[in-house]
């Protein structure tokens, strides 16, 4: 019997898991995919929002602000890259200025610090590629950029090191209560637990509705993105938003923490909870809209496009807490933007709730720090030389575009909850994320992954399940 089972190894589930690993409890995360960070957490704007746009007084507004304030320390503890590059909401006509002021006032009510409206001249100095039509902007220096992969992976690794179990390839197919505990059905058998945390992203309504008479509804709202080559990395300095409209915050243009430019998202409601396929209309729409806030967006430098699904709850609010008619079942539902930003605060909130509910005692062995996959580019010349001497694998460059070595791949494969497939390597090391999009390094990565995991290359996948990279050999039908 577990004390707590968390459904979903996205950023919310992993943050809750890490928070709960501070206590003595038997905890397990169940995830239908082969790795963490495979749903909404993997495909979003990679932004840490300042917190000015969520409706004042909402839980969303509160957790956004707390999450933003927690992120610096968290990034340091978990050894992940994070930078507060600042956000700009651009007003393109004097007519719209009242809406900009409204947004500013909303931000003040939410408690966002250093927030101010800047005029054209200052805006142009701050952001040389801003649209000449821009008349003013809301400037939020506390907005930031982060890698959603490494944030989620780091939270999971740290939770795991502190005793949280992870069950992958484990899809929850049923859920019911027996006396004072819960039984979770999976194809690998049933799991018993005192409490359940529902962190299932776009599927969170499915699990909620299995246990509660008070139904909720989550719409998968697709967002298409384009990622541009690193040679555009200086195009935008801040994260540039248009003034928000009905469907979310509009198409942003932002640097990423790794030096690319990201453009997106669209907002298209879809029926399919697995519908992460981009569509031509979406991408065209995106390209058209992205051009509004900046001049001469180098959209031809696109290196990949992708889509993510926001878990949009009908009332556009986070649903976090114990479900009234299902004691011991804790929802983290409707976690859409600013969900990534809020993740640390959601973890804390749910952690506190379960600590009190289960009267958990502190885990004396808890260690909140974690070392990331070593990036030799962060070392001094002397340290680098020493590393190369001790571990020659760092001298074997596998991904030419991002300059990722075999040493980094080995680190990613052999660490807690290590990489098991190409996407796992990609999200831990960035190998294959560059301009050639793994054309060069795929066969090289396959060779290393096969050797290190001790499995035949024909068993290797892109992202688990049926995503096999090859279908056999040239000789197996002779």
């Amino acid at each position: 019997m577990y004390d707590i089972v968390i459904i979903g190894a996205g950023v919310t589930g992993c943050s809750v898991a890490r928070e709960l690993s501070r206590y003595n409890a038997k905890i397990c995360v169940v995830e239908k995919e082969e790795d963490v960070c495979c749903g909404t957490s993997k495909a979003n704007s990679a932004i840490v929002h300042a917190g000015f746009d969520a409706a004042a007084g909402s839980l969303m507004a509160k957790l956004n602000l707390i999450g933003n304030l927690m992120m610096n320390d968290l990034a340091e503890e978990l050894d992940i890259p994070y930078r507060q590059n600042g956000s700009l909401v651009v007003c393109l006509s004097e007519e719209d200025r009242p809406n900009l002021v409204k947004l500013y006032e909303n931000g003040l009510k939410n408690g966002v610090e250093q927030l101010r409206i800047i005029e054209k001249e200052e805006l142009q100095a701050l952001e040389p590629n801003i649209s000449p039509d821009a008349v003013a902007a809301l400037y939020a220096p506390t907005g930031g950029i982060i890698c959603p992969f490494t944030l989620t992976i780091a939270l999971a690794e740290n939770a795991n090191t502190n005793g949280v179990e992870f069950k992958f390839d484990t899809k929850v197919t049923g859920l019911h209560s027996v006396k004072d505990y819960w039984v979770i059905e999976t194809p690998n058998g049933s799991i018993e637990t005192k409490c359940v945390v529902n962190a299932a992203g776009v599927y969170s309504d499915v699990f909620h509705n299995m246990v509660s008479a008070k139904k909720i509804h989550i719409t998968p709202r697709r967002g298409d993105y384009c990622l541009l080559d690193k040679n555009t990395g200086n195009f935008a300095k801040q994260t540039i938003f248009p003034l928000p409209g009905k469907f979310g915050k509009g198409v942003l243009v932002s640097p990423t923490i790794h030096g690319n430019t990201i453009v997106g998202p669209t907002a298209i409601d879809v029926d399919n909870k697995g519908g992460t396929n981009t569509a031509a209309e979406g991408l065209n729409d995106l390209i058209e809209k992205a051009g509004s806030t900046v001049k001469d967006l180098p959209i031809r430098q696109v290196i990949t496009s992708f889509a993510g699904l926001r878990a949009h709850e009908d009332h556009h609010e986070f649903i976090i807490g114990e479900v009234e008619d299902a004691p011991g079942f804790i929802d983290c539902a409707g976690i859409e933007s600013p969900g990534l930003t809020s993740a640390p605060a959601i973890g804390k909130m749910v952690g506190d709730l379960l600590k009190d509910k289960l009267s958990l005692s502190p885990n004396p062995n808890f260690n909140g720090t974690r070392k990331g996959v070593l990036d030799p580019k962060t070392l001094s010349k002397e340290e680098y030389a020493k590393l190369l001497k001790e571990k020659p694998a760092y001298g074997n460059i596998i991904c030419r575009c991002e300059g990722i070595s075999e040493g980094e791949l080995l680190d990613a494969i052999h660490r807690p909850l290590g990489a098991k497939n190409l996407d796992g390597i990609k999200r831990r090391t960035r190998a294959g994320t560059g301009r050639c999009q793994a054309g060069f390094c795929t066969p090289r990565q396959m060779e290393i992954l096969s050797r290190e995991l001790g499995v035949d290359q024909s068993e290797l996948t892109k992202c688990g399940g049926k995503s096999k990279l090859i279908v056999g050999t040239t000789k197996d039908r002779i």
Partner: protein, 421 residues
């Protein structure tokens, strides 16, 4: 820091030919840096024949062609380092590289020949909509998997793009038992060589659909099918023309991009048309003593011409070293293009540096039938050659004779253009 007179970046066909030629021109302090585990570059996986008809007057496979040059490098005892990745080159020609044996190391070069080759355009750069499953490969990656590793990337294949590697892979996959259902090409003409259309598609009854593109990729985990559609003159898909193909693999052969990250990093000027460096008659880039040849300069159709071009670059690099590595006075005349040609290599010429005939290579932007290739020295037409057909997929060349330059001592401008018959 280690010193070499000439460092060659990349040990593919261009790098090998440049090294041999530089050596034979009298400079023996040469180092080739190669990131793969063998010399020969992409030729190692090009196991089909058709290489060397111009250079060796016989038909060789890719590995055989490469071996001829590797042997010449070995005979001359030219130094090379394998599995060595160049990370950076400074404008002062200091090369920073890394490998397992030496760790991080720096080399001061007297002259550099850039021969890094090219890479394939990816699905991402093409912005093809749909899911992102396993089973979408560039043709070259698939070629490596099949020919070097012995793996089958899939059994039922659709190919987008009719570049030469895609055409070759259509035949290759078929010979290995896969079913290649269709080759779709966005443009109204093929990007590959005519002989490859005949030998790789027609001979195997593989349909080529011109003016078609992929508009959707299905399959959440592994490719399950693709939809292709016809495109209009603006290359936009025409609604209602969609055709669905069940397949487990999509191969992409949609163009090659010269790999000039190192060149850009050191400040070499890049021609936006070719994505390769601007070079003068000596194949020298905007940085004196830094030369470029092969697919890093502009994408070629035939390796024979890569070797020829690279040999010239190697010879010129040796001359630069022997002249004391000083850039003398230059009198640059620019080559401009009109009505047809998109670019020329070289893009400038100093007549004083021209010895014998100078080859000028270019490509046209669309299919042109029954026209003349003309070269003007100022107002004077010095070349007027009939071409029954010119296509973007086939590189053109003209020979500028030394005599042309001697006859035009006050030459200010050279123009390459295509004229009606």
């Amino acid at each position: 820091m280690i010193n070499y007179d000439i460092v060659i970046i990349g040990g593919g066909p261009a790098g090998l030919a440049a090294a041999v030629s530089a050596y034979d021109s009298g400079v023996h302090s040469i180092l080739i840096l190669e990131r793969d585990k063998e010399l020969g570059g992409i030729l190692g996986q090009c196991i089909h024949n058709g290489f060397g008809l111009h250079t060796f007057k016989e038909e060789l496979t890719g590995p055989e062609y490469a071996q001829r040059y590797i042997d010449q490098v070995l005979e001359r005892k030219i130094e090379y380092k394998l599995r060595s990745m160049v990370l950076e080159i400074s404008p002062e020609k200091v090369i920073t590289a890394i490998n397992r044996e030496d760790g991080l190391f720096e080399i001061q070069a007297g002259a550099i020949v850039l021969t890094m080759g090219c890479r394939e355009r990816s699905r991402g750069a093409l912005n093809i909509p749909g899911f992102r499953p396993a089973g979408v490969y560039t043709a070259g990656t698939a070629q490596r998997l099949v020919n070097l590793e012995g793996y089958m990337p899939g059994r039922e294949v659709v190919i987008l793009g009719s570049g030469d590697i895609g055409l070759i892979m259509a035949r290759r996959m078929t010979l290995e038992g896969a079913k290649v259902k269709v080759v779709a090409e966005l443009l109204p003409y093929s990007g590959g060589l005519k002989r490859n259309i005949v030998q790789c598609l027609n001979d195997f009854d593989i349909p080529l659909k011109l003016s078609h593109t992929v508009v959707d990729i299905e399959g959440n985990e592994r490719v399950e099918g693709v939809t292709i559609a016809e495109v209009d003159e603006k290359l936009k898909p025409i609604p209602g023309t969609e055709e669905h193909y069940t397949c487990d693999t999509l191969l992409l052969s949609c163009g090659l991009i010269p790999e000039n990250e190192l060149s850009r990093g050191m400040g070499v000027r890049i021609n936006p048309v070719t994505s390769g460096p601007y070079v003068n008659e000596s194949l020298e880039t905007s940085i004196p003593g830094v030369f470029a040849a092969g697919n890093v300069l502009h994408v070629h159709d035939l390796v024979d011409f890569v070797s020829e071009e690279a040999a010239a670059a190697g010879k010129n690099a040796a001359a630069f070293v022997k002249s004391g590595m000083a850039e003398g006075e230059r009198h640059e005349i620019s080559l401009s293009v009109e009505d047809g040609p998109r670019y020329t290599v070289p893009s400038t010429i100093d007549p004083a540096k021209v010895e014998g005939n100078l080859t000028v290579r270019f490509r046209v932007g669309k299919v042109i039938r029954n026209h003349f290739v003309c070269v003007y020295f100022d107002q004077d037409r010095v070349i007027h050659i009939k071409r029954p057909i010119m296509a973007p997929g086939e590189m053109e060349e003209v020979l500028l004779k030394k005599k042309f330059f001697d006859d035009h001592p006050k030459l200010a401008k050279i123009t390459v253009r295509v004229e009606e018959a």
